[in-house]
């Protein structure tokens, strides 16, 4: 088969004609390189976006094992549990039980910001790395004794209000019972101590760790404090981790709108705020993948509904605010939110008008996370860029196709190993916030509850949706389409940039942010303008490479 790349190198991929290349042919060329079994497997993860009927988009394989030897973006269960969900909470001592590496690598490497000046005790342990630093003698004789001693030492020195223990791979294999150690030490020290069995090999990606973290929060933290805060509209914001300060902008915006933020899971978070999260009226979900479990479980246990929101993109922000207002159906809130939108939008529109001509029609690709590859498309749309390929690192089918496919998802052995909690109505604290009828219909005032339509409906037909993209697939897409920008993470960054194409990190934002809500959207427009239109890309070819002919009169012998 002729290489598509060769055929297309003379065809400049410009706005409007990216569809001139047949994506099915590209897909075939990509998987041709694979051994047959791998090709069959990857074929199911590479979908050309297509609406198949009123409700459904083309089915994608997701949340499945990465094939050994394939260079994937994924990390592990521990990273999802400790790094993503629990990491951004400042007043917990997050104690890694294992050899030193896991604790070391997850030490301050995510750009979660936090502001300890707002909590009375000023506790902030996020700048610290705590580890039992297991050595061979613990691998042989067991590490429970060392874990107990480490908890005691952490308590003696730091006097935290909570200690969480994170199990790494060998802990599960040697059979240390971190939960019984946690119970014993909790009893002894009188502070909240609990463990996570989030060994790196569990599940197929970080996703398993998110689920395990969600379970731990529900069992051990949420519901411990029944203090009801003042406020007419009390919400929790779930799945927002304050990378680059996003939460700070959200907090300000909510305050402006008169919405009370009871707790954020888990950007700029504290355990006290988690503890009374069940007193809010409504859960708002940003990152569906990492946190939908806790929202579902809180609905069952406390009668609190959830809605999906997105605060990335100015339009998406306005839509989400209006959705909240409509949910409450209160004129005071509706009006106030319209005022806020009217106040915020002029600056956004001004920036869009400035930036758009410089980026209009340019191509973007984004492969990241479990929600960001969807959410960030909104921001690119606002500056006229087209996302022709996107996918998640660790999401599930519902994040692509929408939650209506949930009943159709087959639970495989890897997912079955992750505990599904049997959650019942809390006998005292269950308090249905809305009528049974609305809960059952999953709709209130025309707002769909417990609903997420997924990434695919937002993407153009014929665009690529690729789950758990590999190094090989990434390179092929770049070679063929030469997008103006590629979004992924640090591991992909320099590989893509060596191609002369800027890579924006959407896990950690490189050094930028915040990008949430209106002000963040403006930051993002300018950031993408800087990256795409930077002069650096003009210098790649030296003058003698651009015109290699010689006109010299003489040369050295």
């Amino acid at each position: 088969m002729e290489s598509i790349h060769e055929e297309t190198t003379n065809v400049e991929v410009i706005p409007g004609n990216w569809k001139a290349i047949d994506p099915h042919e590209v897909k075939n060329e990509i998987i041709l390189k694979y051994p047959p079994k791998v090709a069959r497997n990857r074929s199911g993860h590479i979908v050309i976006n297509k609406k198949v009927d009123d409700e459904n988009y083309a089915e994608i394989q997701a949340n499945a094992r990465t094939i050994p030897g394939i260079i994937s973006q994924r990390g592990c269960c521990y990273a999802g549990c400790k790094g993503v969900v629990m990491g951004p909470t400042r007043d917990i001592i997050n104690l890694t039980h294992g050899p030193i590496g896991c604790g070391f690598y997850s030490w301050l490497t995510r750009r979660n910001q936090t502001d300890p000046s707002t909590s009375p005790d000023g506790h902030n342990f996020m700048t610290y790395c705590f580890s039992t630093d297991m050595e061979d003698k613990e691998i042989i004789f067991g590490g429970e004794k060392k874990l107990k001693a480490a908890i005691q030492e952490a308590y003696d020195i730091f006097k935290p209000k909570m200690i969480a223990i994170f199990s790494t791979c060998p802990v599960g294999l040697i059979g240390d019972d971190v939960h019984s150690v946690a119970r014993e030490m909790k009893e002894k020290l009188g502070i909240n101590i609990f463990g996570f069995s989030c060994e790196g090999y569990k599940g197929v990606s970080q996703s398993a760790g998110h689920h395990i973290a969600n379970n731990g929060l529900l069992i051990h933290v949420i519901g411990l404090d029944n203090t009801v805060r003042e406020g007419d509209y009390k919400v929790n914001l779930l799945g927002e981790y304050n990378i680059g300060g996003d939460v700070f902008l959200l907090e300000k915006l909510f305050e402006k709108c008169g919405i009370t933020l009871v707790s954020t899971f888990s950007g700029n978070a504290t355990v006290d705020r988690f503890a009374n999260a069940h007193t809010a009226d409504l859960n708002l979900i940003m990152c569906h993948r990492s946190i939908n479990y806790v929202a579902d479980m809180m609905e069952k246990k406390y009668g609190m509904p959830w809605i999906k929101v997105n605060f990335l993109g100015a339009q998406a922000t306005s839509n989400s605010l209006r959705k909240i207002a409509q949910y409450y159906g209160d004129k005071k809130l509706i009006d106030r939110i319209e005022d806020v939108i009217a106040e915020e939008m002029p600056a956004v529109e001004k920036a869009q008008a400035e930036i758009r001509p410089r980026l209009e029609g340019k191509l973007a690709m984004m492969f990241v996370g479990g929600s960001r590859a969807h959410h960030y498309q909104e921001l690119f749309k606002e500056i006229g860029m087209i996302t022709i390929a996107a996918g998640y690192e660790f999401a599930h089918r519902d994040d692509y196709e929408g939650r209506h496919v949930l009943p159709k998802i087959k639970v495989d052995a890897d997912s079955r190993n992750i505990e599904e909690l049997d959650v019942q109505k809390d006998p005292e604290k269950y308090n249905p916030r809305i009528s049974e009828r609305e809960l059952e219909a999953r709709e209130r005032h025309g707002v769909m509850l417990k609903h997420y339509e997924g990434m695919m409906p937002n993407m153009e037909e014929g665009a690529y949706v690729i789950d758990d993209i590999s190094q090989h697939e990434t390179e092929k897409l770049i070679e063929i389409y030469k997008p103006a920008i590629f979004c992924a993470g640090i591991k992909e960054k320099y590989m893509v940039q060596k191609h002369g194409i800027p890579l924006k990190q959407l896990h950690n934002y490189d050094s930028g942010g915040p990008y949430a809500v209106y002000q963040g959207a403006v930051n993002f427009y300018y950031e993408i303008d800087r990256m795409v239109n930077s002069k650096v890309w003009e210098h790649i070819k030296a003058p003698w490479e651009k015109s290699p002919e010689l006109a010299a009169m003489y040369a050295y012998e």
Binding site: Y34, P35, V38, R65, T66, I67, P68, G69, I71, Q73, R74, G75, C76, A79, P99, I100, G101, C102, S106, W107, L108, N124, F125, T127, Y128, F130, S131, T132, D133, M134, E135, D136, I139, L147, A150, Q152, E153, A154, I157, T168, C169, P170, L173, G200, Y201, K202, G203, V204, S205, H472, G489, I490, K493, M495, V496, Q497, K498, H499, G500, I540
Partner: protein, 458 residues
């Protein structure tokens, strides 16, 4: 205060590590593997290991760090990782086409007890290793040693797998550079070149992890020691291992396996250690030291003379890896500075002895700890403040809290760019280090001096 909970009072900790001054073996093995030309490092463990190692190496070097993984799931953890590794080998050679796959183990596969040579034998028997392609492995359990040990083990594995014994020795030396920056590896090659000594340097990450921007990505950059060169290390006249811990085991293995005599030296950081390196090169190769090197040495000495007034009896706290810190301590003592708090995360009793002997004549008490962490280091600094801190990026939290000038040295450096392009080894590297130290001290003096004492000429 970012490390606001670190108490000044030091209490003994037996079980809890806080703010480690080390990380685990596999990342060192991955870094060493990248110094083989056409090699794809492979992590035999769960995905998180290689994701973390690739991320950390990428943040430090700001270059693509390619590697693969066995992607263990719960099943593999119960039944062993043989099937995963066999599949990985087949996939890697088919899809990513490296010349060689360098497998390192993890705490997971080591706890299970996977036998890598046996799995390689099976791969070979099944025809999964194409003709002319290679595999090698190092056992790097994360619960033994540190990242330095992992580097040493993978470097030794290069000898174990490839060095070919040969009675006939050629006029050439092997140099094992230790875990230094790609720019340092280049500098070591340049110094040998100045002396006219032919060498094989392994591993060699120059032009792998400090590559150029060309608008074209290549999975296997131009740099790296080739397998042919590794085979020939067995017929070199001698080996210089730089860094007792990172390079010692490979140097000794070459001696044992191929009867190539070795000298294990300190990393050539600072004037004395570089003198020993140049002198060893000269003696082993039987060459004269050229003027060009004498000039560099003289230049280093010249700026030490010029700077000496600012260094004299300034107190320094340093934390890092043993090979680096031993040489750096010697360098600081040689320029009349007072390194008084010295911590390494790697447990090594020789480290403590060596530092004690290097600092025995200093007019003050010196704290030294091997197997220590940065919290202890911070506490020492709180109790006996210093004028300068030297260490990896994490030290900047201590620097800010205690308001002490800081220079970045060691691994990882996650917040500054360019360090992998300029050496700190050799005489030129020594000059660069001194310039950094003096800049930090003088910037502070300029910031803090009262207006009356603020000076133009310093």
């Amino acid at each position: 205060m970012l490390l606001r909970h670190t108490p000044k009072k030091i209490t003994e900790r037996k079980a809890l590590t806080v703010n480690p001054a080390k990380t685990c073996q596999p990342i060192g093995a991955m870094y060493a593997s990248l110094g083989i030309h056409g090699c794809l490092p492979h992590s035999h463990g769960s995905q998180g290991c290689y994701a973390y190692h690739r991320s950390t190496l990428t943040r430090h070097y700001r270059e693509p760090v390619m590697a693969a993984t066995s992607s263990f799931t719960e099943g593999a953890s119960v039944f062993g990782g043989q099937a995963n590794l066999l599949q990985a080998i087949n996939n890697i050679f088919t899809i990513y086409e490296p010349d060689v796959i360098a497998v390192h183990t993890t705490c997971l596969s080591e706890t299970i007890g996977d036998d890598i040579p046996q799995i390689f034998a099976k791969a070979e028997a099944d025809g999964k290793i194409p003709k002319g392609k290679y595999v090698l492995h190092a056992n790097t359990p994360s619960y033994v040693g540190t990242h330095v040990t992992g580097f040493a083990n993978m470097t030794k594995a290069m000898v174990d797998y490839f060095a070919m014994p040969n009675e006939h020795k050629e006029n050439r030396l092997n140099i094992i550079p230790g875990w230094v920056e790609p720019s340092d590896m280049k500098e070591i090659k340049r110094i040998a070149g100045e002396l006219g000594v032919r060498i094989i340097l392994f591993p060699d990450t120059e032009n792998v992890l400090n590559g150029p921007q060309t608008g074209k990505f290549t999975m296997y950059p131009k740099g790296g020691v080739t397998i042919d060169e590794l085979k020939k290390t067995g017929s070199s006249r001698g080996t210089i291992g730089l860094g007792r811990l990172a390079s010692g085991p490979a140097a000794l293995a070459l001696d044992t396996k191929c009867k190539v005599p070795c000298e294990i030296l300190d990393l050539p950081i600072g004037i004395k250690a570089t003198d020993r390196f140049v002198d060893a090169l000269r003696k082993m190769a039987g060459v004269n030291v050229p003027d060009s090197i004498n000039i560099e040495r003289g230049q280093l000495l010249d700026i030490i003379t010029d700077m000496q007034a600012y260094f004299y009896h300034k107190k320094v706290g340093l934390v890092g890896d043993p090979d680096q810190i031993e040489s750096l301590t010697e360098f600081l003592v040689s320029i009349d500075m007072l390194p008084i708090h010295i911590v390494t995360g790697t447990k090594d009793s020789n480290f403590t002895k060596k530092i004690e002997s290097l600092t025995q004549d200093l007019p003050c008490k010196v704290n030294v700890k091997s197997g220590g962490d940065m919290m202890l280091f911070h506490q020492w600094v709180k109790n006996d403040p210093v004028d300068l801190l030297i260490g990896n990026t994490y030290v900047k939290y201590i620097s800010r809290d205690e308001d002490i000038p800081f220079i970045r040295f060691g691994f990882p450096i996650l917040d500054r760019i360019g360090h992998s392009y300029f050496p700190t080894v050799g005489y030129k590297g020594g000059m660069r280090l001194l310039v950094k130290i003096l800049d930090a001290l003088m910037d502070r003096q300029d910031r803090d001096s009262p207006e009356i004492e603020f000076e133009l000429v310093m």
